[in-house]
Symmetry: C2
Subunit: 364 residues, 2 copies
Amino acid sequence: MTARQPRSVRVVGTGLVGTSVGLALCSQGVDVTLFDPSPSAVALARDLGAGRIEPNAAADLVVVAAPPDVVADVVAAELAARPDAVVTDVASVKSLPLKRLRAMGVDVSRYVGGHPLAGRERSGAVAARADLFAGRPWVLTPTEETSEPALQMVRWMAGTLGATVSVMDAVEHDEAVAVISHVPQVAASLVAARLRSAPESAVALAGQGVRDVTRIAASDPHLWTQILAGNAGAVARALHALRDDLDSVLAAVDALGAQPDDALGARATVAGLVAAGNEGHARIPGKHGSAPTVYVAVPVIVPDRPGELARLLRDVGDAGVNLEDLRIEHSEGRPMGLAEIDVLPAAAQTLVGALRERGWTVHA
Amino acid sequence: MTARQPRSVRVVGTGLVGTSVGLALCSQGVDVTLFDPSPSAVALARDLGAGRIEPNAAADLVVVAAPPDVVADVVAAELAARPDAVVTDVASVKSLPLKRLRAMGVDVSRYVGGHPLAGRERSGAVAARADLFAGRPWVLTPTEETSEPALQMVRWMAGTLGATVSVMDAVEHDEAVAVISHVPQVAASLVAARLRSAPESAVALAGQGVRDVTRIAASDPHLWTQILAGNAGAVARALHALRDDLDSVLAAVDALGAQPDDALGARATVAGLVAAGNEGHARIPGKHGSAPTVYVAVPVIVPDRPGELARLLRDVGDAGVNLEDLRIEHSEGRPMGLAEIDVLPAAAQTLVGALRERGWTVHA
């Protein structure tokens, strides 16, 4: 046991993230105590194996997993009640809680802001998993006053939970998540909101593009209001920049609508936006944070009968090649689908041969 | 052979869609001739089995698969050169080509506008597939002058290619694709464009959300400029409505940034947008055009070693349950991934039991 490792951890708030932290630390042999204002929530987390219930336990480390809009108050209370404990939180915005702590006059030398980027579509303790953080980014946002041992303790925890830890300041974090998470959420909601009034015949034409763009539009309005309000400054900056781009495109599209055969500059504006999107999209890292690897997609026709997809997966397994990814494209109203199996270029021929030998229609 | 079925089909333009039409019709025993202004493109399509090369062939039906901005000229030329042929096209915008045909004084009784919603990320004849249209929507946009036999012939073709045919007028079509396809494209490009100037540390935080929202931002700027310019009126209407929503949210976020503890109306505006997105998203049809079915996602931990995913797929196959969908969630920098296998609720327990028996860690 190193000096950085806490002997005991108190988890405050037993939703998805808090319960997952408890599960993961318990599996590492750490003594975890749980608290939640809801007695039924904390009992469920205990039953799932996330720790012991002890409302006022002492602890070396406190993990505050409370909703964003109360996190500063809870952190302040924990720091005050446990004068030797290190306190961290998991809120997805970081500047505002820190600002509030400072406004309350709280000494933040034992506080380390944190944000594991590990949400799921599902929420609550039932969706918790000990491996929720495995391979996910976990940003820590220490201040100048934050003590090195406090930072090391939280870094130990995030690392033990399997996360990839990075350190940045709170403002830098909030600007980053505004662009990488909050603006995409707003854009998905804006596009999906347009579908409300679309005729049935239009919605019936939905393909994979609009499905992907709007998938996260199914997110919880209450949680997202807290997140967007909690990061309002950075979100506003990014959204204003997006609106400036939108205004340019709108002016171009308006001009093209009025004078379809003229407005050459307008075409350049539209092409410029799509090209800018190409560039931005290309910056998103691939698997394992590396540059995107080029895989070969092997498309296989799958009759939509019980057992056919299972049979394909078994045959793919028997072929013994390493799959990188797999997408299933559902067909609408026809008795077939299409599975696209991504493999390294060198493995594609083996897979194609093995599948054809077993009677599959492979388009490669 | 019914009266509606053409004995010979001429395909003009041997890119992805034209070549796929040729492949599919040849496999149905229809005599297909190919033409493309590029000799190498038409030779490739012929070699792939999409039809014979005959630049000035007679035909009962002509399929114009030319780029959107030249489609009206090509349709007009084909109608003039083949006084008995039915002519259809596959352009993704429908009002503007029709308007141009009318402006040229063309009799459109033998013209049936068409749009198969069957694009792929890849383009060109090499990506062509005889089943490209299987289960995909194919919209036909006849005018009042369009003859019934002409419509029936094109309907026969789209149906023979496995598409789900719907009929609407050109304006209705363009309004529909503006909302379901063109606005999502612009939104994806706008979000991705923000990533260009984001610091490396921000882009490293990219998760599945931003990946999904921006996937189609990788699309071809040249093609999309033609599409957006060709449907400028409808796209502008939908984008203006989106900008109105964006302006409301921006005003709310600005207010929250200035007065984080006040601005209650602002929170309601933000929550209202996310809720509107929930509603719009829920209208997107599920598999087979039906209402979305609720499946159970069975999450399985997959060590990132060669053969592990293949072994899982084989074990899933052996369990004999029918898979509805499968997602693979890659981890960043850690030696494990997560496969989520969607099955009907009744099948979940069987699958979980079978996988656990074979040593898999299943979180269900």
